[in-house]
Symmetry: C3
């Protein structure tokens, strides 16, 4: 009983952390695109709750959690407004490295947290189990918010641009699933999410890249 309660609390805390991180990444991208307060709020909100909405629609949990519990929506809006306030935005753009690192870290935390939350939802809700399916739902939940953010802002999605993005989500998802029954749900989720953030940071620092096709054509 106490363990279940504890798991619920940790899942809730992860949802909050992931929502805040993704909302910051969305609002910051909106700032960088010169959007107004409402545009920034919408981009922050879309990024913060988008992955969860996609996950819930896919697994047939309608209306999605965001529409049943306004917590995530309120957090995304508040975070976006804070990012917009003059002191915060002056700070973010006071140094071009700071902007890059903020986007990297917030986007990585959102990616890591939502990947393992997607796996958790698939385990809980779906009667169909299997490594491939858990991995797929996890990755889709993890990358969904960022893909919506980038497409709405008119950028090519990070997932096609950053060399170690979906790969990090994939490795973290597989690790989380492999550990699930061995070390317990909470630890498996923590290790999975932490590994994704770590891999993204290492990839950015050491400029990891996957093999790329050299096509003898322009465009």
């Amino acid at each position: 009983m106490s363990s279940l309660y504890s798991l619920e609390n940790i899942v809730f805390a992860l949802e909050i952390i992931g929502t805040i991180a993704f909302a910051i990444s969305g609002a910051t991208l909106g700032l960088e695109k010169g959007m107004d307060l409402m545009g920034i709020t919408i981009l922050g909100l879309t990024t913060g709750v988008g992955g969860g909405i996609i996950r819930d629609i896919i697994i047939g949990q309608t209306p999605p959690l965001t529409f049943r519990d306004p917590t995530y929506l309120i957090i995304s809006v508040v975070v976006s407004v804070i990012v917009f306030t003059p002191p915060v935005r002056r700070w973010i753009f006071s140094d071009s490295m700071l902007y890059e690192w903020l986007m990297l870290i917030m986007d990585s935390v959102g990616l890591g947290v939502f990947t393992v939350l997607g796996i958790k939802s698939a385990y809980t809700v779906s009667s169909i189990h299997g490594v491939i399916l858990f991995t797929f739902v996890g990755m889709l939940t993890g990358v969904g918010g960022g893909v919506l953010r980038d497409m709405m802002a008119g950028n090519r999605p990070y997932i096609f641009v950053k060399h170690f993005y979906a790969s990090a989500s994939l490795i973290g998802a597989l690790t989380c699933i492999a550990l699930w029954d061995r070390v317990g749900t909470v630890l498996a989720m923590g290790i999975g999410a932490g590994l994704i953030v770590l891999l993204r940071l290492l990839a950015a620092h050491y400029h990891w890249s996957l093999p790329k096709a050299n096509i003898p054509r322009d465009n």
Copy 2:
């Protein structure tokens, strides 16, 4: 009985008006992008029925209304073909102001009508009630068709470009919800939708804008 019948009729009439308005905005944008008849029809159709499909998927009403009753689909196609006919398109582009105003008015009517229709659906279908959730479903239904239209046509969504777009939807949604139990559903929807259209027109005329972040960076 008579009152219920009347409400149903008014909701149906609003769905028709919103569909026509959004289909005109989609088809007109297709014309402006130099698309052919089929492209224009698809853009008109996507805009006309897109918001309603998003709404129905979110609240778990599947298959969406558009797939159960072909009325909206047929209307969107017919409207798009009419927009494409030479006399109509010559008229639309006979004056550059006319194109701008047509897009503004049709898009505003669609936004206003679908915002209150989203609120109505959330009230009717969902067992979860709350101002924030009604507002969210209303805004998502209102802006959904236009966001799909703009993204498919390769434009940055109006919601990020027009200064008083989501703000108008938000104010109209809150007004509609506040009046819901006080003046009756029909009047609340009428006032909410009308207010959204009025705010958009005033914003366009007086060049209202929200605070914008001035970032000392290019891009």
Copy 3:
């Protein structure tokens, strides 16, 4: 019994063919955009399973088939990796005509197969029947994967660019539905899908185009 079994087998075979064809088109577009192995795999996967996911969400079959049976996911990933291997990609880009024809043929096969599979699903699952609704679900399933592919890769969707795309899907869908009760499901699906591929190839060869609006404006 044997007949039903046979129908199931043919539907399964069509799902495999459509998935392979669309995955090739997505992975090849990823190559052409200079993406890395992961980006190419994601674009191949999105295109291969995207249309089916949209179809299943629309008709309320959640979780979508792709999440219940990993076959399609695995096929899309394997196909994408094969497309990425040096000999294959050298071959694809050894001649610029070859790239164009490969994209045309794979995209056409995917379009044809998924259009009739969408109709099949609508017949099987939905209790609401009607030519317009079957046609709409069929076309949405057929064009969905390609629209996702093109929007994620930052291209204007084929559906707005290729002159005889949605038109081919529409004609094939209507033919399939008209023949459904007359010649049997299997033959109706085969003729419908074959007609779509044939129309697309003829359109490409003879440069068919639909009437286009000549607007006296730039942009």
